[in-house]
Symmetry: C2
Subunit: 313 residues, 2 copies
DNA sequence: CTGAAAGCGCTAACAG
DNA sequence: CTGTTAGCGCTTTCAG
């Protein structure tokens, strides 16, 4: 009985007579045989692993996204390799190289620290979230423009006249910027003053916010509304409360992302919510199409956002 | 010029003359050659990937741990495969099987849903956190006993006389249980009444807590102190505040884990903090020793915990 | 120092 | 239906 038959049996590919089947099964059990994945990967020319590159899953949004992506990939029989760039472009580059070295079958990326060209050189499955890498690489993101508008209209509707926006200027071409632009545009239209406080996009952790806000006391004191990412909003709430400002009377806070944490807070934070499960599903579905070399790949998918009214506005 | 020389060159193993070196370098550049990781994995009999099994990184503690572990593994040149069991033992089993199939070089696990025997059958590098899998598998965990004591003494010191503990009964042998036992023991000693509210350990997300607390209104109303995990504490704070109970005057809340979220909240939550970076470092260091088949493996490592005084007590 | 050759363990034609 | 035979692409003796 040959080794090929065993292979056919295990992979259910090709015919195997009932008798051989039984014998093989017995042998497998007896010898405690387990197929070696590394050998399979080599001859099949695939590893069944997808790398997911994220800036840092300290950020609630990315943590949630990674979680959902893992669940989706698992459903398709793929394993997830976490690729946390921890804010450094070196790490992002190294993870992309991995694709070339055939360690993973594809990469889903939402990191922003590397020039687009690095990605464009790779001729393997890549799906990008929130980062336009050229038209040959599928791009998926939320309707950030609508997000900016929802926030602006809400704050305006609550009577804000002097608002602050906290956000970074990304070094790359990302649709995320639309939320800042649209927010400002809508406010301008309503003659509401908007000031943008620039944060270093690659330093986004709580300690940084705490430190950053220290330097903005006066501006915060003076404003009546603020728009920031989930973690930024949480930090602002914490900070201004310590300053003795009452939320929402003294200052209204709206967050962007709307991860679970905004709902765990007391009060719940008003937020524009991205549909993370849907984003994750689209990333994975698109990756599967790319891997299967299917023709019906949608190269630009935008998902809806909605406003969650909480106690901070 | 033979293929072997190229291999020696790339891996810096064995001698290569300067001239050959240059020629190879040129060829690599010209042909844009990249070594195939899958082939390497097969012949080297290793993949450079470590699987990290966690119950669910919705839980702040595991999310932080995973993050740190990835950073440590990366420093050693290893990649991290996320293995989120999402509360199901099937998934945990499947991930363990992966080890057998030689997909990963080792597994760091902190999941609790599978009988110990499943792990003991595997004769490959495994490091366990918070789950005693027998003396042949290194066990790493925080000093949960001290943690329980710190919380108990603190709440007692703040004048609590009637406290609640929220926690699960794990289906496996885990040192985490010590914190419940010690908490109760210390309280008993001081003649303080303790009631334990049992939660389903495998349903630990915010929605569950919210629902669970609904059914405990009376008990909460009646108590003056409570001890729960980070997320549990956050949920309690949220819930009792909505009920009109003032924290800390009406109820004192102490959390267990002490992840960043306890510091992001307003007020900061009093918590017993586990040293997550140290735990992660120990897990990874131990894994490296196991892989290198070194003799100096410490099979039982306990790390210290400390109390963070916040505004909820 | 270098090349030939034998695997690593499995998959995939291709004749029987 | 099944066994034989090539690979997959790299590492690693082992002569030379």
């Amino acid at each position: 009985m040959g080794i090929a038959t065993v292979s056919r049996m295990i992979n259910k590919t090709g015919y195997v007579s009932e008798e051989s089947g039984k014998r093989i099964e017995a042998a497998i059990r007896e010898l405690n045989f387990v197929p070696n994945e590394r050998a399979r990967n080599l001859s099949r020319k695939k590893s069944g692993i997808i790398g997911v590159i994220i800036p840092d899953f300290q950020t609630p949004f990315y943590a949630s996204l990674l979680r959902q992506v893992e669940i989706e990939l698992y459903a398709y029989g793929y394993k997830t390799m976490v690729c946390n760039t921890v804010k450094t472009s070196d790490r992002e580059k190294e993870y992309i190289d991995m694709l070339d070295r055939n360690m993973v079958d594809g990469i889903i990326t939402c990191a922003l620290s590397v020039e687009d060209s690095v990605y464009q050189m790779v001729d393997k499955p890549i799906v990008s979230m929130d980062h336009d890498l050229g038209e040959r690489i599928p791009l998926i993101h939320s309707d950030h423009q609508k997000g900016g508008r929802l926030a602006a209209e809400h704050l305006a509707g609550q009577g804000c006249r002097k608002v602050i926006q906290i956000g970074g200027s990304f070094p790359v071409n990302t649709p995320s910027n639309d939320r800042y632009l649209e927010f400002e545009r809508v406010m301008m239209e309503k003659n509401i003053s908007v000031q943008k406080l620039e944060i270093e996009w690659n330093h986004i952790d709580y300690a940084y916010y705490a430190h950053f806000l220290q330097d903005c006391r006066d501006v915060l004191q003076d404003a009546d509304g603020i728009f920031a990412s989930d973690m930024g909003a949480i930090a602002v709430y914490h900070f201004v409360t310590d300053m003795g400002i009452h939320v929402p009377e003294g200052l209204k806070i709206a967050a962007y992302d709307g991860t679970d944490f905004t709902r765990m807070m007391t009060p719940v934070i008003t937020a524009v919510c991205q549909n993370i499960p849907l984003l994750a599903a689209k990333c994975v579905d698109t990756m599967m199409k790319l891997i299967d070399k299917r023709e019906d790949v949608d190269f630009h998918q935008v998902t809806d956002v909605y406003l969650q009214k909480g106690g901070t506005t």
